[in-house]
Amino acid sequence: MGKKTLVPLGPYHPLLEEPEFFKLYCDGEIVKEVIWETGYNHRGIEKLCQSKTFEQVFYVVERICGICSTSHPFAYANAVESIPGVEIPERAKYIRSIVGELERVHSHLLWVGLAGHFLGYNTVFMWAWKYREPVLDMFEIITGNRNSYAMFTIGGVRRDISPEQAAQLLKVLDEVERKTTLLVGAVMDDPVIHARLKGVGILTAEDIHDFGAVGPTARASGVDIDVRRDDPYAAYDMIDWKVITANDGDVFAKAEVRLLEMYESISIIKQCLEALKKTEAGDIKVKVKEIPPGIGIGHAEAPRGEVFHFVKSDGGNSPVRHKIRAPSFTCIPTFRRSCVGGTISDAAIATAAVDPCYCCTERMSHVYDYTTGKHIMSAAELIKLSQEKTKNLKAKLKV
C-alpha cells in the first residue's frame, strides 16, 4: 500500500470560471476519491436579484458567466415572460436564437482549444482560439459587445439585425464552418488523441441520471436530451436541426458532440438569417406593462447544458424569489465518478471534459503529501505531466 496523497485542483484554477476546490485523494498515481468544495466566490446573485426590477435582472444574470452570457438572460426571459404569457414577435425569436447559437459556437471553440492545451496540443489551442476571434467580432457588430451582450429584454430584443450585418455574419459563418471541418479532421483522426481521450473519464447513462447532469456531458453518454427540442422556445421549433449524441460517455465522445454541434449551430443561424428576410424589420419587441403575481419556470440550453430559472412574482416590481441553476452545478459533481479509478495525468482532462466555465487564467494547484503536507508538485508540473504522457504516446505510436 503506497502512501495516500492529496492532489488539490484549485481553489484558483484555469479549468474553473470561479474559484472551486477539488481534493483528489490518490494512491500512487490512481485517483481514489474526489471531494468538491465551493463558495470561494459566492456573489449572492439570487439575493441581489430580489432587489432589482424585473427589467434590471437581465443585466445582473448576464454577469453570472462571461462565456455564456446569453444563456442566463435566455432562461430568465423564458421564465419571466411566461408569467403574463407574453408572445414575443417572430423576428425577436429568430434574433434570440441567432445570439444563442453564436454563443454556442464560440464557447465550443474555446473548449476545444483548452482541451488541446491540456493534452499538449498547443497547435489545436492556437487554431481554435484564432477561429473564435471573428465570432466575437461578429458579436460586437450585432450586439455592440464582445461579451455581456445586453441583447434581451422583457418582450423581445433590444437591437435589430440589419441586412448588411446579416451578410457579414454569413461570410464569417462560412469561414468558421471551413475551419471547424479542419479541426474535426485534426482531432478525430489523430491516433494520439484517441489514445488520450478514449476510455478516459467514462460516465454511463445511469451516472448522468443520478447526478442530473445535462448538455454535452449527458448527450455524450447517449442521453438524448436538449431543452431546445424537448421544450422549445425562441425559434427552435420553427427551423430544421438535430440533436447530436454519442454513446461512449468518455472524453472523446464529449469532444465529438461539441465539435459536431457547431455545424448544427451554424446551420441554425443560417436558417434564422434567411427567415429574418420574411419578417418586418424593426418589429423586435412588445410592450409588457407589468408582471402579475405568479410563478415562472424557464429553462434554456446553454453551451454547457440546461440553465434553469425559477421566478416568483407577487405583482410588484421585483421578483420575490429568483432561483438560478447553472449546468455546471449538476455536471461538476460527476467528477466523483469520472475521475475515480483514473490516473492523475488524466484528471485534468476528465475534469475539463464537462467544460466547467473557464475564466481565470491563474493556476495554483499543488500536489502535497497527504500525511506530511510536504509540497511535491506544482500546477505547471501537473500540466507538464499530462503533456508528457501525450509525448510518450506519440513516441510509442511513432507519429
Binding site: 468538491w36 465551493t38 463558495g39 459566492h42 449572492g44 439570487e46 439575493k47 411566461s82 408569467i83 404569457g85 441520471h209 443520478d210 447526478f211 442530473g212 447532469a213 445535462v214 436530451i225 424537448d230 421544450d231 422549445p232 405568479g294 410563478i295 415562472g296 419556470i297 429553462h299 440546461e306 434553469f308 425559477f310 416568483k312 420575490v320 424569489r321 432561483k323 441553476r325 452545478f329 449538476t330 459533481p333
Partner: protein, 147 residues
C-alpha cells in the same frame, strides 16, 4: 401529456397529495406533506425516470417552502413537488438516498436558509466559510445585513 388525467391518476396513487395545479404552461405544481416526499420523489425519479433539475427553497409567508423540480424530457413538462415546512421546526428528510445529485443543493439550502435535512450523508457547510457566524441565514426574511 393529458394533464387532467395525470393529476387524477397521481392523486389516486398517492392519496396524501394535498393539491395539484398547473401554474403555467407545461408547469405542474404538486403540493405534498413532508412525510410523503421520499415516496413520491422516488416514483417520479426512479419509476417515471424524470430528470432531477434542482431544489428551490424560499421563505414564504406561510413558512419555509421547498420546491423539488423534476423534468419529463419526453413531453417538456416540469413537475414540481412543493413542501411547506413549519417556521418553528424547519426540518425535512434528505432526498439524497433517492436522488444522488441532491446532496449539494441540500447543503446550499442549509447554508442559506437554515433548513435541516435529516439523514443527510454530509451535513457540512457548502458555500460559507468556516468563520461565517452560526444562525445567520441570508435568504430568510428577518435577515439583516451587518455593517
Amino acid at each position: 401529456m393529458d394533464i387532467e388525467q395525470y393529476i387524477k391518476d397521481i392523486k389516486i396513487k398517492f392519496p396524501k397529495i394535498i393539491d395539484a395545479e398547473v401554474v403555467n404552461t407545461k408547469r405542474l405544481m404538486i403540493y405534498i406533506p413532508k412525510s410523503s416526499l421520499l415516496q413520491i420523489a422516488e416514483y417520479l425519479f426512479k419509476y417515471l425516470a424524470y430528470r432531477y433539475i434542482i431544489v428551490t427553497a424560499m421563505d414564504s409567508k406561510e413558512g419555509y417552502e421547498i420546491i423539488y423540480h423534476f423534468s419529463d424530457d419526453s413531453s417538456g413538462w416540469i413537475v414540481n413537488l412543493n413542501v411547506m415546512l413549519d417556521r418553528d421546526k424547519p426540518e425535512i428528510e434528505s432526498l439524497t438516498p433517492v436522488v444522488y445529485g441532491v446532496e449539494w443543493i441540500e447543503r446550499e439550502i442549509m447554508d442559506l436558509l437554515g433548513i435541516t435535512f435529516l439523514n443527510h450523508p454530509k451535513p457540512e457547510r457548502f458555500l460559507f466559510a468556516e468563520d461565517w457566524p452560526e444562525g445567520k441565514y441570508p435568504l430568510r426574511r428577518d435577515y439583516v445585513e451587518e455593517e
